[in-house]
């Protein structure tokens, strides 16, 4: 069955540093992959979409890579801020969205 893993349940970094979150998937080949942010008590919010033929996608301080050979996506937040603290979910898309368990990011001032 399809399986998605995201690095460590929680990640703590200092303000100003770059946060790197990992998403690994097995047993399928998604054509697209999306990243979402979720704050406590709220629904996920769409951040970025990357297609299998795109190696990298950027939006402001966010960067996503998609390596279909490694079956992995990396999500980077540069110059991180305390306001970036949230849970980040990856969602590879095959026939439907399958969400990973999420990584809870804490940016410490």
């Amino acid at each position: 069955s399809q399986k998605i893993e995201q690095n460590s349940e929680a990640l703590n970094i200092q303000e100003g540093k770059t946060a790197t979150l990992t998403c690994n998937y097995t047993n399928y080949s998604p054509a697209y992959l999306q990243w979402y942010r979720q704050d406590p008590g709220r629904g996920p919010v769409f951040l970025l979409l990357i297609r299998e033929n795109e190696k990298e996608k950027r939006k402001e301080r966010l960067k996503v890579t998609f390596d279909t050979t490694l079956k992995q996506s990396l999500f980077h937040i540069t110059a991180s801020q305390p306001a970036d603290s949230a849970t980040y979910l990856c969602a590879p898309y095959g026939q439907n969205f399958v969400f990973g368990p999420g990584t809870r990011l804490s940016v410490l001032p």
Partner: protein, 113 residues
């Protein structure tokens, strides 16, 4: 513009009861998907509806059913509630089916006693 709205926000039921959750998509969005999110996990796909037809179904028992109305709003029904059905139920809308950004509501928190 209004985002995705879900009702009710919180609900408490007992085992064996039935529940109906409601979702209004963003205006112009024709696809609605339902997800179950247990604390500490990512959302698990339940259903997708597009143009009032079921277009996808996740690995959930037949106690779960849904429908989409002509105005694209949707209902999720769960029968014979179990303790394990306690979760946050999320609705997401998108312009079309397929790979589109999902716009989520803030969910219905369902607690089963």
């Amino acid at each position: 513009d209004a985002g995705v709205t879900q009702s009710p926000t919180h609900l408490i039921k007992t085992r064996g009861q039935h529940v109906t959750l409601r979702c209004s998509p963003i205006s112009g969005h024709k696809s609605v998907s339902w997800y179950q999110q247990v604390l500490g996990q990512g959302p698990q796909f339940i259903f997708q509806y597009y143009e009032k037809e079921e277009r996808g179904r996740g690995n959930f028992p037949d106690r779960f059913s849904a429908r989409q109305f002509p105005n694209y709003s949707s209902e999720l029904n769960v029968n014979a509630l179990l303790l394990g059905d306690s979760a946050l139920y999320l609705c997401a809308s998108s312009l079309a089916r397929g790979n589109q950004p999902q716009h989520f509501g803030d969910g219905t928190r369902l607690s089963i006693l």
